[in-house]
């Protein structure tokens, strides 16, 4: 009964805002980040480093607002606020 992340995220009810509540402050900092660990610790795979474009992409629509990246990014390079009231994740069980 192993589930991949897409299937997992599919079980969550979201109301996505048009603008991201997560902003990479400086892509240059990501470029020089030796660990790029946001690519690993985020439970819903929001962050992905692109070698070619030299940037971290942010799939904010998938964010479950846990706050790990807020604390976990070693250079605090992520500007983190809550989605607007009523937007973002709405759990069905919790």
């Amino acid at each position: 009964m192993s589930t991949n992340i897409e299937e997992r995220l599919f079980t969550i009810r979201y109301k996505a805002d048009k603008v991201s509540h997560l902003i990479i402050k400086d892509q240059e900092v990501c470029l020089n980040c030796p660990t790029k660990e946001c690519n690993w610790f985020c439970p819903s795979d929001v962050y992905l480093w692109h070698d070619l474009e030299k940037m971290t992409s942010v799939a904010y629509e998938n964010c479950i607002e846990c706050g790990t990246c807020r604390i976990g990014c070693p250079t605090y390079n992520i500007e983190w606020v809550y989605p607007k009231g009523g937007y973002g994740v709405t759990y069905k069980y919790g």
């Binding site: 009964m1 995220l9 809550y82 009231g85 009523g86």
Partner: protein, 436 residues
């Protein structure tokens, strides 16, 4: 937004905020309860076990009407090896009357509890994010700014109960920012399964429930798993310390996948359907991370102040107690007409005299053990060695028992560092962590 001025504003309709709002509204204060979710509970999850006692101090016999899943009659602790388990557990009919605790789901429980605060007179303001505390100077909190148009609200007292990601606590400067070793990240799945299957697999009657806490098989990271029985779902999850997670380059859901494939767990969830995936931080800093709790015009409660007893997975009950105590101090301040720290510091004292302080103090060493000990050793090698040792002891293979005993001891010793003293040292550290 509402023009009128409030006696008190509560930010966050989790157990802490709702308990505060309920307490104050019941005493006749004019209270606003502000929550960013579509409804209270929309953003929240926990394991979760709800305890009778602390909430009963607010609402006697609350459990007779609250939406709960199963009355817990049995609690188990599993120490996992790679394909084995050593178990410890306790089941007792006495846990039924009066009931001790229940499993629950936050999307059901939180709205119910908030409805109690609403009925007591608190004004619900949901789907609203508090973006900032309104300050006069850098000392006095005068109210809140929200993300609604025209969204400022004023009050004599603001109670901050905005949970583990307390951005308002940060604004107040009560904590700079939690560090990775002060929080763990938990991911969870709610797995649908028929009532009958749950009752058969866990040996339960219709409303009886069982909890399993899980140590080991967390990819060498400090962490704990849990498997709880609900009416027709199971709650399966695992939390790992964020400092470890940062080091290990493992995706959090892969840790969960690992547990799901363990032979012990696999059978229990077989045929189930994942209904929901979720994730949340848990405060793990404990006693040493509790910030100053009050200032001029404000008090802070629950997860926002790190009030979680991770050893006994108690958080909601401590949140409820801290919310109630803050509410009671607010009532006294309202009567006295003084909202400065001079009056509100009574909340600090009340927490210090309460079970929150006592329990968290008892385990204050544990955080050090989790944050600084070698997690690979504690959460992988040691549980594996215990499994291997028990395996050897129970295996009938012609070797004399005395040899087996020696072998088992050596395995434990090796897992804890290689010397006799290492095992002893670890034992003492563990004992100290649990016994203050």
């Amino acid at each position: 937004m509402a023009d009128e001025r409030f006696d008190a504003i509560v930010v966050g309709a989790g157990p802490a905020g709702t308990a505060a709002a309920y307490t104050m509204a019941k005493a006749g204060l004019k209270v606003a309860l502000v929550e960013r979710g579509e409804f209270p509970g929309a953003k929240n999850l926990f394991g979760g076990v709800l305890y009778r006692q602390q909430l009963e101090e607010l609402i006697p016999e609350w459990w007779k009407e609250a939406p709960l899943e199963r009355t817990i009659v049995e609690q188990r602790l599993w120490m996992l090896g790679e394909d084995s388990v050593v178990t410890l557990g306790h089941r007792n009919e006495k846990y039924k009357s009066p009931p001790n605790c229940w499993t629950g789901l936050r999307v059901k429980f939180d709205p119910w509890f908030a409805s109690k605060a609403e009925q007591a007179g608190a004004l619900p303001i949901y789907e609203t994010v508090v973006t900032e505390l309104l300050m006069q100077g850098d000392q006095v909190v005068k109210g809140i700014r929200t993300d609604r148009d025209d969204g400022e609200l004023e009050a004599n007292i603001t109670i901050v109960a905005d949970g583990v990601n307390s951005l308002l606590g940060k604004q107040l400067g009560v904590h700079r920012e939690w560090r990775p070793h002060e929080v763990s990240l938990a991911v969870k799945e709610v797995i649908g399964l028929s009532k009958q299957a749950i009752q058969d697999r866990f040996n339960l009657d219709a409303n009886e429930g069982c909890t399993i806490e899980i140590v080991g098989q967390t990819c060498g990271m400090a962490g704990l798993g849990f498997l709880y029985t609900n009416q027709d779902t199971l709650s399966l999850g695992v939390g790992v310390m964020v400092n470890d997670l940062k080091k290990h380059r493992v995706k959090p859901y892969e840790v969960l996948d690992g547990l799901k494939q363990h032979p012990m767990i696999k059978k229990l969830i077989e045929g189930g359907e994942v209904r929901e995936y979720s994730g949340h931080l848990i405060p793990e800093g404990g006693f040493n991370s509790i910030p100053p709790l009050a200032g001029n015009g404000w008090m802070i409660c629950g997860d926002a102040a790190q009030m979680v007893n991770a050893v006994h997975r108690e958080g909601t009950n401590l949140a409820v107690t801290s919310g109630r105590l803050a509410g009671e101090v607010a009532i006294a301040a309202h009567k006295a007409g003084d909202f400065s720290l001079r009056t509100l510091s009574a909340y600090n004292d009340a927490i210090r005299a309460s079970i929150i302080h006592k329990d968290l103090k008892k385990y204050r060493g544990l955080h050090g053990l989790l944050a600084y000990e070698n997690s690979e050793k504690l959460f992988n090698q040691l549980p594996q060695a215990v499994n291997d040792a028990v395996y050897e002891m129970l295996l009938v293979d012609g070797k004399p028992k005395k040899t087996k005993q020696k072998q088992a001891f050596r395995q434990l010793k090796d897992a804890s560092g290689g010397h006799n003293m290492d095992l002893l040292r670890l034992g003492i550290k563990g004992w100290r962590a649990m016994n203050g």
